[in-house]
Amino acid sequence: MRLPWCHLWFPVPYEFIMKETLREINALQEAGIIGQSAIGGAMGATFYLEPISTYDLDIFVLFESPALILTLAPIYEFLQARGHLPEGDAITICGWPVQFLPAESALLREAVEQAVTVDFEGVPARVMTAEHLAAIAVQTGRAKDFARLLAFVESGQLDAGRLEEILKRHGLVDAWAKFEARYLA
């Protein structure tokens, strides 16, 4: 079993932490503990935008289990055996809190299924598309989500047609219209 080198060389240079963390997430998938997954949240948005203040890496996972019996225990047991420490509901991988979240809404499931694969310096990583991240922000609707949406709009990163299709498919057209009227008018 290949253990992460962050346990051997310490402290890990900050720019290598993400790569090592992604390697560990891939190890979970290779071991058959999780199915498809994708980076979302603020760290996902950072692939398209300027850095966004966040301290955890959100990994959305497709679970087979019914919602009422969802558990993260197998994920944490696997990672703890590799020397990573739990921190509340997150687990710290190479000093980085990683949060595994069930992709339980139709929008989140689609975002995981349609995520793009990027080559993170030799480590494959799946990242939600900019349009899905924006649609999730519309759905979640907190103040910080609107700030992220504004950043997406201002960046010119969104494919308007693709976003519109996602918003229609998930009943978010009215929520988007409210956002537009309030912040883009």
């Binding site: 932490i17 790569k19 760290m43 950072t46 398209y48 301290y55 997150a90 949060q99 993170f120």
Partner: protein
């Protein structure tokens, strides 16, 4: 929303509050860490045509 997701979101909020209480030098250390990760993500994203 499942009980698990509700619990996760509650813990995320608690973590944000705990981070806000950290001493300033520790917050600076975290910002440095984030800057390192964000720099690397930016390089990868540009290289992969995501930006």
């Amino acid at each position: 929303m499942s009980p698990l997701t509700r619990q996760i979101l509650k813990h995320k909020q608690e973590r944000r509050h705990a981070l806000a209480q950290l001493p300033y030098p520790e917050k600076v250390r975290i910002v440095e860490k984030l800057r390192g990760a964000a720099k690397k993500i930016g390089q990868v994203a540009r290289h992969q045509g995501l930006r």
